[in-house]
């Protein structure tokens, strides 16, 4: 046997098998964008207002914060820890912490906001990674705990940034600022965060380790990967993007309260799973998650344009979710890797 290998190694020529695998891979990668395309086409047909640049920008603006949250939460799901349910609490905590620290300057305010989120992420990561607590139960408990603490500490009050001071004005301006050309700054941040998260997941050693932990924690452990350390990083990452979104949301609302991030937890899981990140861990990408986020955004926008009320919107969102999950499982079965 020789140690030299041919660089033009050819894959095993099993036509059918490859073809199915290829379909499935394409579906995994693009499936959600197919759905998005269909929705956009339907939108153009159903409502003349839909395709206007203003409306499209509006869609993007509406999903900006969800996109930022999902960029981090996707890692949690990817590592087979399902979801971070402390998302709303982290968003609220970040916003309140940032406003509280505004008297000490812009830097202190932002650092406090992000630091608050990172602290919660660290606690989550240590509990789940080292303490082996179930991630759903733990992050849910964390959400309740933080919620309670924030209500108690701030006695249920809202905090308002003081637009009269420089830090306050800066903070309020964060969500209103536009890039040259009129593109909203938060949306640009969202696209940047998504791109960075995608690169981290697919092109760094850390991303590959998260995938291994998600796909097979035991294999990761016996291969010498420090699994708890990876889990900690995953939760910290998730908390980081979440607190960025929390700061922007607080700035947008012009106030910080204990219920700032309400609803972002389940919306994030929905978008992440829609975007093709498997709850079994190790499959999917952040690019797909962006697709999931956009599908939710376009769908809700379209329903609003058509005058469907919010209850109807929830029903439709649920139906789309069911359809996409069903299609994913179908392709998985065709290629012989049904979920257990």
């Amino acid at each position: 046997m020789s140690i030299e290998t041919d660089n033009n190694t050819i894959g095993r020529g099993d036509g059918r098998r490859l073809r199915i695998a290829w379909h499935a891979a394409l579906f995994d990668a693009l499936g959600i964008y197919g759905v998005l395309l269909a929705l956009v086409v339907a939108g153009c047909a159903l409502s003349p207002r839909f395709a206007s640049p203003d409306n499209l920008l509006n869609v993007l603006r509406n999903v900006t914060l969800l996109g930022i949250v999902c960029a981090g939460v996707a890692f949690v799901t990817y590592s087979r820890h399902y979801a971070d349910l402390s998302v709303p609490a982290i968003m609220a905590f970040s916003g309140l912490a940032a406003i509280s620290m505004q008297p000490y300057g812009i830097g202190a305010s932002l650092a406090a906001g992000l630091g608050a989120g990172l602290l919660v992420g660290l606690v989550n990561g240590v509990a789940v990674g080292y303490g082996r607590v179930n991630p759903i139960v733990w992050t849910l408990a964390m959400a309740f705990l933080l919620d309670g603490l924030l209500r108690w500490f701030y006695a249920g009050r809202q905090l308002y940034p003081d637009a009269g001071t420089r830090p306050g004005a800066f903070f309020l301006g964060l969500s209103q600022r536009e890039l040259p050309g009129g593109f909203p700054l938060p949306t640009a941040i969202m696209l940047g965060v998504i791109l960075a998260a995608h690169l981290v997941m697919k092109h760094t050693k850390f991303g590959a380790q998260v995938q291994l932990v998600g796909a097979a924690p035991d294999v990761a452990h016996t291969s010498g990967v420090n699994v708890p350390a990876i889990v900690v990083k995953v939760f910290v990452l998730s908390a980081f993007t979440t607190s960025v979104a929390g700061l922007l949301l607080t700035s947008m609302n012009r106030q910080g309260t204990f219920d700032t991030g309400l609803g972002y937890d389940f919306n994030a899981v929905t978008a992440v799973v829609l975007g093709g990140v498997s709850l079994q861990g190790g499959r999917g990408s952040v690019a797909g998650v962006l697709g999931g986020v956009l599908v939710i955004g376009v769908l809700l926008n379209l329903l609003t344009l058509l005058g469907v009320g919010s209850f109807g919107q929830m029903v439709v969102k649920g139906l789309v979710f069911v359809a996409v999950v069903g299609a994913t499982s179908f392709f998985a079965r065709r290629s012989g890797r049904g979920e257990p």
């Binding site: 290998t5 991303g207 452990h221 010498g224």
Partner: protein
């Protein structure tokens, strides 16, 4: 390949040692799996460990691989006492283990699996070119140079997966390599290739521990043999002065007779018919019949499409063409539950991934397939009696209904799997490598059980790479090659050599 640095120390006979374990023990809750065992491996030696299912072989070696934080006793590696409480600690000492149950991560590519734990990177970015280059080198060392390292491991066959695992272990440049039943998924040809690799590694000074139930293999490859029974070391002998009968006696504490050839019986009426079955890319236009009380053996090389055929017949994988009939009635094998209701049962070759729910109790596993067959829930007492009847017939050890399936030794998991399929009382039983990883004594029990089932009138389709088993049990052998049936041989026309020849024959 670079030289392997081994700081040596010596045993009583003056041979340099790579490793010594002194009086090591390991207790699971309720079981003392390894009981004060002494064990050593010399540099450049293949040291085999043999013993019945549950004797403690895997446990002893997992201890070495750093799987347990709570073993007792001394482990000396390279002349220094070490504490191996984490896998990383074992790796740092140059100890690599290929686990009995394959451990590759599913959606990841071969390359990422091979280099898991030490992915090449530059400032945090994955160095993909280096990753693929190194993966190709490693694959070439186990003779898989024409496998694309970017293939996801879920798309490769079991025998390829086994070789990939070996390549993965070699990639860490170990000085002690533990192989726990590395040949169970390999065909004769691939076993040769593995032995070639082992021979080369031995000459390079690697210390190799080799666990196997396959006596001829062990006698060929091993320098010394340690026999374990009930967690104790009962003997250690040089392979040159050992013979099969003596080892078996040491293992099971009694002498054993040879594999018996099942006596021929008058063929009954045809009950099961498969007509023109195809799944594109896997098998093509396969037709055959099984008579009442007949064991039809399907022989062939690994990758010939035998398992795929079985899986499609049972509705686990899709079937593109063809029909199945049982007693003249069509079987709609669209789902496994449908197949089960129709009377088909499949014993998978991969007990860990799809055979057993490892965290559920043994009794729940055995009754799992009944859930599909009956709609009503079973009373706990009735459930336990079904379990006891099935498991006792196969001499499950320990016969404990409430132990989790994953806590049985490998061979006993296999018995559990068979018990599970028998619980539904199928008419047609499709067995895919039914005695993989099973010790000689248990194998005989399983063979007798299979023979009994046929005598009761069941139709049995037996897929096996174990030639004595295939030849000894089957009434008729069909050879499958590259997805097609190429030969059919009646009792009297086949023996081990002819089956092997036919399986390898180029048409």
């Amino acid at each position: 390949m670079q030289a392997i640095p081994v700081e040596t120390f010596c045993d009583g006979a003056g041979y340099p040692l790579a490793l010594r374990m002194e009086g090591v023990s390991k207790r699971y809750p309720g079981t003392l799996a390894v009981d004060r065992v002494d064990f050593d491996v010399r540099v450049g030696e293949v040291h085999a460990i043999m013993g019945e299912n549950g004797a403690g072989k895997s446990t002893l070696m997992k201890m070495l691989a750093g799987a347990f934080g709570d073993y007792t006793g001394r482990i000396v590696v390279g002349g220094r006492e070490v504490a191996l409480h984490r896998p990383a600690a074992a790796k740092a000492r140059g100890i690599e283990m290929i686990h009995q149950e394959l451990s590759l991560a599913q959606p990841l590519s071969i390359a990422e699996n091979l280099l898991a734990g030490r992915l090449p990177s530059r400032r945090g970015w994955l160095a993909r070119a280096a990753l693929l280059r190194e993966a190709r080198l490693l694959l070439a060392r186990v003779g898989l140079e024409d496998l694309d390292p970017q293939t996801p491991v879920e798309d490769i066959s079991q025998h390829e997966a086994q070789l990939v695992e070996i390549a993965k272990a070699l990639g860490n440049v170990p000085c002690i390599l533990v192989m726990d039943e590395p040949t169970t998924a390999l065909s004769a040809h691939e076993v040769e290739r593995l032995f070639e690799i082992i021979g080369r590694l031995r000459r390079q000074g690697l210390a190799i521990v080799y666990i196997s139930h396959h006596l001829p293999e062990v006698l060929r490859i091993a320098d010394r043999i340690t026999v374990l029974r009930d967690g104790r070391r009962v003997a250690q002998l040089a392979a040159a002065e050992a013979d099969a009968a003596r080892i078996v006696e040491l293992m099971i504490g009694r002498a054993m007779n040879e594999m018996t050839i099942r006596r021929a019986r008058a063929p009954g009426p045809v009950r099961f018919e498969a007509c023109g079955l195809s799944r594109f890319g896997f098998f093509h236009r396969v037709s055959f019949t099984v008579r009442e009380g007949e064991i039809v053996g399907i022989g062939g090389l690994a990758g010939a499409g035998r398992s795929e055929l079985a899986r499609s017949m049972c509705g686990i994988d899709p079937l593109d063409e063809g029909a199945l009939r049982l007693d003249g009635r069509p079987v709609a094998a669209r789902s496994m539950a449908g197949a089960l209701r129709a009377g088909l049962a499949y014993v998978t070759e991969d007990r860990q991934r799809e055979g057993l729910a490892l965290r559920l109790r043994a009794v729940d596993n055995v009754l799992a397939s009944l859930i599909a067959k009956r709609s009503a829930r079973m009373a706990p007492a009735a459930a336990r009696s079904v379990f006891h009847e099935r498991a006792a017939a196969l001499r499950l050890d320990p016969l404990d209904p409430s132990r989790a399936a994953g806590q049985f030794s490998g061979g006993n998991q296999q018995k559990l799997l068979l018990a599970k399929s028998l619980a539904v009382e199928p008419t047609v039983l499709i067995l895919d490598e039914p005695t993989r990883g099973v010790d000689v004594g248990a194998k005989q029990i399983l063979h007798e059980a299979i023979g009994r089932l046929a005598d009761e009138g069941k139709c049995i389709i037996l897929i096996s790479s174990d030639l004595p088993e295939l030849v000894g049990l089957a009434d008729r052998v069909i050879i499958m090659r590259k997805g097609r049936f190429t030969r059919e041989m009646q009792r009297g026309e086949f023996d081990e050599d002819r089956v092997l020849l036919a399986a390898n024959a180029d048409d």
